[in-house]
């Protein structure tokens, strides 16, 4: 009886260990996000980077805004910059191609905030809610 219990516990540990080792990446599609405008996000970072990091750094964020720039990065993934403030925008690197998005469009992008350089940076992004 004790032997059987041991076996079950060991099997459980192996399964849990295996699943942790191969845990999936965080996904913007499934994680609950802070929702705000690109202008608000840029303003928050410009005002106080440390406070903004506490709110947004490493978290899922859903931003809505106007496309001020759309380009491709060196891995041919789309990079969309949303209008933020005079000084900073919100730069979003998308996971997949997007068709039909152009400068001036209003979009909603969901992804993870990795911090603030000249713009607020978000990656692993998807378009839409």
């Amino acid at each position: 009886m004790a032997g059987l219990l041991c076996l079950v516990l060991i099997a459980a540990a192996v399964v849990i260990g295996y699943r942790m080792y191969n845990k999936p990446h965080r996904s913007a599609a499934t994680e609950k996000a802070v929702e705000l405008t690109a202008m608000r996000l840029a303003a928050d970072y410009e005002k106080d980077e440390n406070t903004a990091n506490k709110k947004y750094l490493g978290n899922a964020v859903q931003v809505s805004g106007t496309v001020s720039e759309i380009t491709l990065n060196q891995q041919n993934k789309p990079v969309i910059v949303l209008l933020g403030s005079d000084m900073s925008g919100v730069q979003c690197t998308l996971q997949a191609d997007v068709h039909g998005i152009k400068k001036g469009d209003s979009v909603t992008i969901k992804g993870f905030c990795t911090g603030y350089l000249t713009d607020v940076i978000m990656d692993r992004c998807i378009v839409g809610r």
């Binding site: 060196q74 990795t114 911090g115 000249t118 990656d123």
Partner: protein, 179 residues
């Protein structure tokens, strides 16, 4: 940090035509041990190159490094580089031979960048050999160098020491546009 760098460049009377930038340059690193291969890439590197003075700067968000395995990425952020505490890494330096490069002429030029590398809150002086490829008037900077985590107080627990090499092989590949 980038804003300070740009402001300093502006104050010193730099002409816009001397500056090239990227907001999505690439930096990656890897190490191989018999136990494990570590491989990470960052495609959101911000960099400024002043072709007149040779000043070059890179600003990197550490959370933008992505690994194939999510658990490895988690350990990297939480245990090793402590990215919540030190979200940025940077290099601020100068090309030692900027004067010898004709940035208006297509070609491949060997360069050395010397300056301050900051990671995990620690700054070290480093010297990195690399190349600049000028094509159509636009530069592309490429470099490979080794970096030891312990030089930046990055502690690797002895339990996993055989999975993580003592030095990381870092690769830089940035294509610049006109500012």
């Amino acid at each position: 940090m980038m804003i300070i760098l740009m402001a300093l460049l502006c104050v010193s009377g730099i002409k816009a035509q001397d500056l090239f930038i990227t907001r999505h340059g690439q930096v990656s690193f890897f190490s191989k041990t018999p136990m494990e291969n570590i491989d990470a890439v960052n495609n959101e590197v911000s960099s400024v190159l002043n072709v007149k003075t040779g000043e070059i700067g890179f600003a990197i968000l550490v959370k933008s490094f992505h690994f194939e395995r999510a658990l490895m990425e988690e350990h990297f952020n939480e245990n090793y580089v402590e990215s919540d505490k030190y979200p940025k890494a940077s290099f601020r330096g100068k090309l030692t031979n900027a004067g010898a490069i004709d940035f208006s002429k297509d070609g491949t030029y060997n360069v050395t960048a010397e300056g301050d590398m900051t990671l995990h809150g620690i700054t070290q002086k480093i010297s990195v050999p690399g190349t600049i490829v000028v094509k159509g008037g636009l530069p592309q900077v490429q470099a490979k160098f080794k970096l030891a985590p312990k030089d930046y107080s990055i502690k690797i627990p002895s339990l996993v020491a055989d999975k993580i090499a003592e030095t990381m092989n870092v690769s830089v590949d940035c294509k610049y546009e006109k500012k």
